[in-house]
């Protein structure tokens, strides 16, 4: 049964509908740019896109050709930075979630993680230049750039790993302690196996972040151009400088005159495409694993 609507109730309900519509529009305003931007970039990039574009080297002063050296360079940087940041990040998260008591020292550690996440990328670049390139005498090299990237991605790996660890129910740990296991045995036998999927998803997401960064590598090890064989798999040594996709896009867009119209767009599409692909697969993996969870 429903009461007759008074003018007050009618007004209330109109306000409700209007509010819902406005908020829905605001939410939709986030979807639209993503679709428009990706669509428009792909449309403009279309003439250049293809397998040949990926494996060919830049030609004629970078105004034609492909992006192979930049693509491989990005793989190098991301891979090496991950080798450093993933172990430290996961161990730090284990410390914060499994060992740390709630005291002033660990609050400072937490604040440090939050602040590390908020440091601007260009300040990371300055740090990399001051610490790795000059103080550690690594010079402008893949190693310097990858280490800079590693420190930049560390807080996000810590955050995502902590979230994965925290999602393991406390009762699991208590059951394990009660049969006499130590803290570390509990972590190895119970906590990690139950959270490894979440940890991996977080790390995969981090890969895509690192791949898109430009400022931190610009002054520590990435260069405008480096001659590399077409499709060559291991063109760089660790102490050499390398090209990177993000940097290559910046260069094509702002520094090189008379570039073939579709070339920077195609570079942007490859960068954006790889980042979104890695991201989407991590999200899909997470959704799939969540469906299989037993608790």
């Amino acid at each position: 049964m429903r009461f007759a609507r008074t003018p007050h109730v009618a007004r209330k309900e109109r306000a409700e509908v209007a509010a819902k519509a406005i908020f829905a529009l605001m939410a939709a305003a986030m979807v639209v740019p993503l679709v428009l931007i990706v669509g428009y970039l792909v449309y403009l990039a279309w003439p250049s896109l293809g397998w040949e574009f990926l494996v060919d080297v830049p030609r004629r002063g970078m105004t034609e050709g492909g992006i192979w050296p930049a693509f491989v360079g990005t793989l190098y940087l991301v891979g090496i930075s991950l080798l450093v940041s993933a172990p430290i990040g996961v161990l730090a998260a284990i410390y914060l979630n499994e060992y740390a008591r709630d005291n002033w020292f660990n609050r400072v550690v937490n604040l440090a993680v939050i602040n590390l996440a908020g440091v601007p990328s260009i300040v990371h670049a300055l740090f990399g230049l001051g610490a790795f390139v000059y103080a550690a005498r690594l010079g402008y090299s893949i190693l310097s750039a990858a280490l800079t990237l590693a420190i930049m991605t560390l807080p996000v790996i810590i955050a995502s790993t902590r979230e994965a660890l925290a999602s393991v129910p406390m009762a699991f740990r208590e059951a394990c302690w009660n049969v006499g296991a130590t803290r570390w045995q509990t972590i190895r036998a119970v906590v990690l196996p139950n959270s490894i999927s979440g940890i991996l998803t977080g790390i995969i997401l981090q890969v895509s972040r690192a791949a898109g960064e430009t400022a931190p590598i610009m002054f520590t090890g990435a260069v405008f151009f480096k001659a590399v064989g077409r499709g060559e798999l291991f063109p760089y040594g660790l102490h050499e400088q390398c090209m990177a996709l993000s940097m290559h896009l910046y260069t094509l867009a702002t520094q090189v005159p008379n570039v073939k119209e579709s070339l920077p767009y195609a570079t942007a599409v490859v960068l954006l495409g790889s980042v979104l692909l890695v991201n989407a697969s991590a999200i899909a993996l997470r959704v799939w694993l969540r469906g299989r969870k037993k608790w």
């Binding site: 605001m26 305003a29 260009i122 954006l272």
Partner: protein
């Protein structure tokens, strides 16, 4: 029979873990603790190494900190009279950030409210994926979009002489900081206990009345933190503003003026400044300034969030 005279109990066989396993565990736990404190080490190292490169210029007689902070004259390569005033750059950062927040805060909070209060679970999951993808777009791609697509649009729609300006940078930065505001804002709304909602609905409030009479006041601190983190992201953003705001070191007169921000200035000039020169050191000093600004913003956001947890 007194307990002292009791015969020894039969020896219990306690399986012992081998010595190496115990030592290994100790060593590993030490490694875990070491990694745990690494965050402090890295934050301190960042401050130390950036300040170390900047320090020599601070003690020079012809360098004045007042001029560095409050002069609008930035002529780092002038042959006769070199001046390092960053006020115009600071104002550039502030103007772009302010415009970005004016756009991103209403949209971000609106979307957060929609996500947590109005939409179905299925729509929510979809939108959260979109937000995650949006936040994954690299800043150099945003900058490229600003430089090409957005700048053409702005020239066509407003008739401005150049399309790379405050408006362009503001829109791009707004799109970049919206995901942060939405996800943190949604968390803040989620943290309001359901009993508040039930009490409101039981009194006959509509969802909208519930939102602005109950949820917004209750989640105020969390929403403020969301906005602050958005500001932090916008202030620290480099590549996007480098490409989208044009390169004019002056106080902007309107939103169609080109500006340069603190971050973009470092990125644009660091490559040209010889290592160890005054110019190079002043750029590091700008980096120190940026570090301190974002440090303060993040710290404030954290204290604001901690405020709600206490309650």
């Amino acid at each position: 029979m007194s307990p002292e005279n009791a015969p020894d109990p039969a020896p219990v066989h306690r399986p012992q873990r081998p010595r190496w396993a115990l030592l290994g565990e100790r060593a590993f736990e030490a490694l875990i603790r070491l990694s745990g404190v690494s965050a402090i080490v890295f934050v301190a190292a960042i401050f130390f190494f950036v300040l170390r490169e900047a320090a020599p210029v601070l003690v020079r007689e012809d360098f004045s900190l007042g001029q560095f902070l409050f002069s609008t004259e930035w002529y780092p390569t002038s042959a006769t009279n070199v001046r390092y005033g960053t006020l115009a750059l600071t104002v550039g950062t502030l103007s772009v950030t302010a415009l970005a927040m004016a756009l991103a805060v209403p949209f971000g909070l609106g979307a957060a409210i929609y996500l947590s209060e109005f939409c179905s679970a299925r729509v929510r999951e979809t939108l959260k994926v979109v937000i995650e993808l949006l936040s994954a777009i690299p800043s150099v791609v945003w900058g490229f979009v600003g430089l090409t697509v957005m700048s053409r649009l702005i020239v066509d729609l407003t008739g401005a002489p150049v399309g790379v300006n405050v408006l362009n940078g503001g829109i791009i930065l707004a799109l970049m900081s919206v995901p942060v505001i939405v996800s943190i804002g949604e968390d803040a709304l989620k943290a309001v206990p359901d009993s508040y909602r039930e009490a409101g609905l039981a009194l006959g409030a509509t969802r909208w009345q519930l939102v602005y009479r109950v949820l917004l006041p209750a989640a105020r601190n969390g929403l403020l933190a969301a906005v602050l983190l958005g500001v932090g992201r916008a202030v620290g953003e480099t590549m996007a503003v480098l490409m989208a705001t044009g390169h004019a070191v002056h106080i902007p007169q309107g939103i169609l003026d080109s500006v340069r921000t603190l971050t973009a200035n470092i990125a644009a000039e660091l490559g040209e400044a010889p290592a160890g020169s005054d110019h190079y050191r002043v750029l590091f000093l700008t980096g120190t300034l940026l570090f301190l600004i974002t440090f303060a913003v993040n710290l404030t956001a954290d204290f604001v969030v901690r405020g709600i947890r206490r309650k």
